[in-house]
């Protein structure tokens, strides 16, 4: 058998798994791996400017491609800087593999230079992590890590590899790639199908699990067959097209009146790839009080975690929904229920709510309303974009006013709500999908958290479009201060910020600032026409609030509507 250094082994295994790009940042301990990388020209390395950005880029890449996003960082601070990205990937179930170099084993535990207890620090932020102490275990560890990232509920894996393991020669065993089995683990499918078919007020509540399982087609087949209203969470947007006639908008804190009301009145919910997050349920006791629930999830620890359900269907959503559809078809074929009649009353109610309380804002000829920026980008692009957002008001407006057409074309930080996610995730998304234009909506606060990653837009390698909705404040916190803290705007004014045009210029990125409503359409047009990266800054109304809104801990059906309603 041929011998290679540990560093070579890592790259050989990654190549074997089809890894063609890596996001990372070198360092002293990581030198052997970067030296080996120099000799593996097939793998393209993207040099980030902060390790948090590397993980978000890998997340963006993973979410758009369905493949594992890979990150290389050095020991100590390089590794600790990945923690936010890892925690983000954990909460949003994103498959990433972070490889951290560790100091030589003789120095571990001695407080050596750039030594940190990386496994200890990241146990809680990863699906799995490990310190590789034996050179002979390295090949299997990397092979397993690529498998664990994707198997079952995807998530972040971290391997901490001491420098001596990276430098030592070891036999390459050429282990085969472990195939991820997509299977049905269990559940009473026939009874669940019967319940859904007989329901008078059914709702499909879908989430990120559908995207991870690539089960959009299977879910849509059920929604179409049963003709039921469907509401997608922030993580699930695009699993069923935002312009599909069954889609009634997002549920939860900033969801639509229709989605929250339909859930509240529903007698049976198909909850597919969701985890009943508090941002969706609001006050739990009043969430879907009349509904029996069919819960599809790959992770059985999610079953009954927040809400007790009647029909848990455990397994990968794709085969699970396929099987459920079969049962639905056979139940309907028996002719027990008149679906058309059942649904006509329910849709009359749902359509009434859609008409009575649609998402709204008041466009203004003078001050630009942030929602109008999102709408303008949507209209001009006909929605044919990959959309990435950061976290805050702009994120909610993007979710509300950019109906995402396809799965894997919407990326946002859902569970952790990580400011600074948008720009690097957008870069990763654009790298993963060079065939399609990606755009990032970001606030002026979020942008400044990771704006150093603009360096990756230099040299026209990543033609990403960045739209900064600048309201000179930390808008979402300011909104809460306005509504719940008597307008005491404590530390949410960031009007003293850099000139973003100069920032763009410094990075050699074309840019334009739009301050008047009349210039908005032209600004968006210029951005979308541009072949290279582009930064569009739009000065927007800082007093605009996101509506509807369910106050924290409030009942979802008792939301605060737009003041004009």
């Amino acid at each position: 058998m041929d011998k290679f250094t540990g560093a070579d082994i890592v790259l050989k295994v990654l190549e074997k798994h089809g890894v063609d790009c890596i996001f990372g940042y070198p360092g002293g301990t990581m030198l052997p791996l970067y030296d080996a990388l120099y000799q593996h020209p097939k793998i393209k390395h993207y040099l980030v400017r902060h390790e948090q950005g590397a993980v978000h880029m890998a997340e963006g890449y993973a979410r758009t491609t369905g493949k594992v996003g890979v990150v290389f960082v050095t020991s100590g601070p390089g590794a600790t800087n990945t923690v936010t990205g890892l925690a983000n990937a954990k909460l949003d179930s994103v498959p990433v593999l972070v490889i951290t170099a560790q100091v030589v084993q003789s120095l571990i535990g001695t407080d050596g230079f750039q030594e940190a207890d990386v496994v200890g620090i990241t146990i809680a932020a990863t699906k799995h992590n490990d310190l590789i102490r034996e050179k002979d275990e390295l090949e299997k560890a990397v092979t397993d890590a690529m498998y664990y990232a994707l198997e079952g509920r995807p998530g972040p894996i971290l391997l901490d590899i001491p420098k001596d393991v990276l430098m030592t020669d070891v036999e390459y065993k050429d282990l085969s790639v472990r195939k991820v089995e997509k299977q049905v683990d269990g559940g009473d499918f026939a009874d669940a199908a019967r319940a859904l078919c007989e329901a008078k007020r059914p709702v499909c509540y879908f989430g990120g699990g559908i995207i991870n399982a690539d089960a959009s087609k299977e879910l849509k087949a059920i929604v179409d067959k049963l003709n039921i209203p469907a509401t997608g969470t922030l993580m699930g947007l695009g699993a069923i097209s935002g312009i599909d006639p069954h889609n009634i908008g997002m549920p939860g804190m900033h969801g639509t009146y229709t989605a929250n009301t339909a859930i509240h009145q529903s007698d049976c919910i198909l909850a597919a790839g969701v985890r009943f997050d508090d941002r969706v349920t609001g006050k739990l006791e009043e969430f879907a009080p009349h509904a029996k629930i069919v819960h599809v999830d790959v992770d059985d620890s999610e079953i009954h975690k927040i809400r007790n359900v009647e029909w848990p269907l455990v397994g990968d959503a794709k085969p699970v929904l396929k099987k459920l559809k079969k049962e639905i078809d056979s139940y309907l074929a028996e002719g027990h229920v008149d679906r058309e009649k059942l649904m006509s009353n329910w849709w009359a109610d749902v359509n009434g709510w859609l008409k009575k309380n649609p998402l709204k804002y008041n466009p203004n000829k003078k001050i630009i309303k942030p929602q109008s920026v999102i709408e303008e980008v949507y209209t001009q692009s006909k929605g044919d974009l990959i959309v990435t957002t950061d976290v805050g008001q702009h994120q909610m407006w993007s979710a509300q006013f950019f109906p995402v057409h396809e799965p894997r074309e919407w990326l946002s930080s859902g569970g952790l709500g990580t400011m600074g996610f948008g720009l690097p995730a957008g870069i990763g998304a654009q790298i993963g999908r060079p065939d399609k234009q990606a755009v990032v909506f970001v606030g002026d606060g979020s942008f400044q958290m990771t704006m150093q990653e603009m360096a990756l837009l230099m040299g026209n390698e990543v033609p990403l479009k960045v739209v900064i909705l600048n309201n000179s404040s930390l808008g979402m916190v300011r909104q809460w201060q306005d509504l719940f803290h008597d307008k005491r705007f404590s530390e949410t004014d960031i009007s003293i910020s850099p000139d973003f045009m100069k920032i763009a210029d410094a990075y050699g990125v074309k840019s334009r600032r739009v301050e008047k409503s009349m210039d908005l359409a032209d600004g968006v047009k210029e951005m979308l026409k541009e072949k290279e990266a582009f930064l569009l800054e739009v000065i927007v109304d800082k007093d605009e609030h996101v509506y509807p809104m369910v106050p924290s801990g409030g009942a979802a059906h008792q939301m605060i509507l737009h003041p004009d309603d």
Binding site: G120, I123, A124, K127, D130, R133, S301, I303, H304, K305
Partner: protein, 168 residues
């Protein structure tokens, strides 16, 4: 109520930390813990006692199964498992209660683990309620000190050895 988990894990660094963290993360306290390698030195058996309600126990079971270094998780139900604990009691021979105490120890069939000059140490193992009684007797007779283990569990059925997760 005390629930006992019998958990087979890879005998590796960090595994104990992962499991301890998991309990703390969900705000559950480990009441008692016994760990030792199995006949296969690469696999350890952890017997974990928790005081939790049914919902908490189910949650822990699910979460434990998600840890990649965990090979199997069993809830030790009375019908299926023998569960035993052990305690040691140290008592001074000068103690006025000593003779009465020794008499009681005979009823427990506790054995003398150590005897030296003025000290004697008794060992007893049995189910939790009996161990509690053993300790109560010690305290009632002014024992010097008491120490106890957590549970040790073994399936009653003859053919249950391990059912390690595939690929682990």
């Amino acid at each position: 109520m005390v629930t006992t988990f019998s958990v087979l894990v890879e005998n590796k660094f960090w595994v104990l930390t992962r499991i301890a963290r998991l309990f703390a993360r969900h705000m559950f306290n480990i009441d008692a813990l016994t760990v030792a390698p199995t006949l296969d030195k690469d696999i350890s058996c952890m017997t974990i006692d928790v005081i939790e309600d049914e919902v908490g126990v189910r949650r822990l079971e699910m979460e434990l199964k998600k840890i990649i270094n965990v090979l199997s998780v069993h809830l030790c139900k009375k019908e299926d498992y023998l569960v035993t604990e052990m305690a040691l009691i140290k008592i001074s021979k000068d103690n006025q209660e000593f003779k009465a105490f020794v008499k009681e120890m005979k009823l427990f069939q506790a054995r003398v683990l150590y005897s030296h000059d003025d000290i004697e140490v008794f060992e007893f193992s049995g189910k939790r309620s009996r161990v509690n009684q053993f300790i109560d007797v010690g305290l009632a007779h002014n024992a010097q000190s008491v120490v106890r283990t957590g549970s040790l569990a073994m399936p009653k059925a003859i053919n249950v050895i391990t059912d390690a997760k595939q690929g682990a």
